[in-house]
Amino acid sequence: MTTDDKTVRMTYREAMRQALRDALSRDPRVFLMGEDVGRYGGCFAVSKDLLAEFGPERIRDTPLSESAFVGAGIGAALNGMRPIVEIMTVNFSLLALDQIVNNAATILYMSGGQFNVPLVIRLTTGAGRQLAAQHSHSLEGWYAHIPGIKILAPATLEDARGMLWTALEDPDPVLIFEHGGLYNMEGELAADTGAVEIDKAAIRRPGSDISLITYGGTLGKAMQAADELSQAGIDAEVVDLRTLRPLDTPTILDSVSRTHRAVIIDEGWRSGSISAEISARIMEGAFYELDLPVERVCSAEVPMPYAKHLEDAALPQSPLIAETVRRMVGAS
């Protein structure tokens, strides 16, 4: 997409805000609604200043009624608008589960193809900020269980900037999970960066010894582990899934077929998880390419604890990723 070398330095939060501003400017059907998106500026300040720019009709503060405003997003999407609904955290989205699972995901199918729901829902996900067990969970893999919706997990500035517009152009409901730990991540982004595809995983770091398969908030940890491992002579490939539904299975299988080893890093819980799904797909599609069993580094199976040392221990961390890789590479 880049046509010149100019880059700008910005945070993930600013990239997302630019994406919102761009979408609101380009399409009069687009509006943002959710709790405190307007006057407060967004719980995580993503929508800061947008109220002044676009007004209260299009930057729409809602009551604390997740079910009603998500359902209202569905209705507005059915009626010619392109709503972006912000849900403060994934845990709060459970209050809107009826609308997401029973309506957004089913109406196209139940209506025999008559009514599509071009709705985008943005949610903050993940832990790492000592917000304990009702603000920190990673349920995107759980949502990825559901046919009829698409699940995105932007882990880079480019994806934070570029996924929203593509999601808005998609005729079907798209949920964008923004890891809360990424908002302050800063980096260089091409000044003219724009929409990105949302149906392909990306190789963030090519390597030949092992595939680290991850997404969202754990991409950085996997990259860090890969850097450490390279100093020990282990060449790890890092696959950023980007989209959890539909999963880009060919990219996963291709990577594993080249490296013959795979570890999946997921901030979700291990049991019944997206990491389990990926592991199953590798077994189904690349079993004979494997030198040894797939391993997983996931969150501890506990509600997220508040205390810093416990929270750190509950989450996948790069030392554990590196240690797992060393053991796997040494073992084969």
Partner: protein, 333 residues
């Protein structure tokens, strides 16, 4: 045919009265046929009949313009018929045939039709209300003076979605006509056994929504109330709430032994059968003869026969197509 939606006080002119009677008869006979076909295993799944409540859908929908929207519940055959979805495509849907209005994907509880802006057929109690709010929001933001009529039973008032939706619609002054069909029982749970406050209009007015109770067995009252309310809604004053007091004569679904109510109660309500009441009223004012009724019945029977024939001749969607419409096949405009 139908009244102008902004007409506040419909008169009992003959042609219109015959139209109302015909619409109620269409629902009644269609659903009687459905029950028969269920017994014959042509229709499966859950089947919720509207028999006894016909005046509500027929009356309320008189207030709607062609480009208004409807959100309904799993007891929605009547609304769909009155709205102009063909009996053929509704019946074919109940058969599960691909000629059905939802291609056989939805069945009795999920009737959808883009042409008439019929947004289901929602089988989650209260689940349609937020969607109706959103449809109305879409109209308001695009400067259209359309109305979204949202039908739901009194059972829905126990759901959080009811309260969230009332509040949001009132807060944003959205053009929703909330039509509460109070048939006294949420499946088998009587209103008084599930609500601390049984005055449903009071609940709506607590959200600053104008609300009126309506005799749901009186077609003229239903129509009059709906026309008045729709006029207010369309003029941009925000939502209105109508509590239609009605009764379902049949079981909740086909699997309901009705242990929760007495035969005497049912018989008592049947004395106020909306079709019989209106039939008598029309005869009293000289607008209906035996011949008129005979002709109506014959026409309705012919329509239903055609629907059954159409459904019998319908085809099954190929199993290879099972995955179609999980996601869209086209880009939106």
């Amino acid at each position: 045919m139908s009244l102008q939606a902004d007409r506040a006080a419909p008169t009992l002119e003959r042609e219109h009265s015959l139209h109302l009677l015909r619409q109620m008869l269409r629902i009644r006979r269609f659903e009687e046929k459905c029950a028969e076909l269920y017994g014959a295993t042509k229709i499966r799944g859950f089947l919720h009949l509207y028999i006894g409540e016909e005046a509500v859908a027929v009356g309320a929908i008189q207030a709607l313009q062609p480009d208004d929207a409807i959100v309904a519940t799993y007891r929605e055959h009547g609304h769909a018929l009155v709205r102009g979805i063909s009996a053929e495509s509704i019946m074919a849907e109940l058969y599960g045939k691909q000629e059905g209005c939802s291609r056989g994907r939805g069945g009795s509880m999920h009737i959808f039709d883009a042409r008439t802006r019929f947004y289901g057929g929602n089988a989650i109690v209260g689940g349609g209300l937020p969607i109706a709010v959103g449809l109305a929001l879409g109209d308001k933001m695009q400067g259209r003076d359309r109305v979204t009529a949202c039908f739901f039973g009194e059972g829905a008032v126990a759901e959080g979605e009811f309260h969230e939706s009332m509040n949001l619609a009132a807060l944003w002054k959205l053009p929703v006509l909330f039509c509460c069909e109070n048939n006294l029982y949420a499946m088998g749970t009587a209103l008084k056994r599930s609500e601390s406050e049984v005055d449903l209009c009071l609940k709506a007015t607590s959200y600053e929504i104008p609300a009126w109770p309506v005799d749901g067995m009186d077609i003229i009252e239903c129509e009059r109330a709906a026309c008045r309310a729709a006029l207010a809604v369309r003029s941009g004053e925000g939502p209105c709430f109508l509590e239609f007091r009605t009764y379902r004569f049949r079981a909740h679904s086909m699997y309901d032994p009705q242990l929760y109510r007495t035969k005497e109660e049912i018989e008592e309500w049947k004395q106020r059968d909306p079709i019989s009441l209106f039939d008598a009223r029309m005869r009293e004012s000289g607008m209906l003869t035996d011949d008129d009724l005979k002709q109506l019945e014959e026409e309705v029977a012919a329509e239903i026969n055609r629907a059954v024939e159409f459904s019998e001749a319908g085809t099954w969607e190929p199993i290879e197509d099972i995955g179609r419409f999980v996601y869209s096949e086209r880009k939106p405009s």
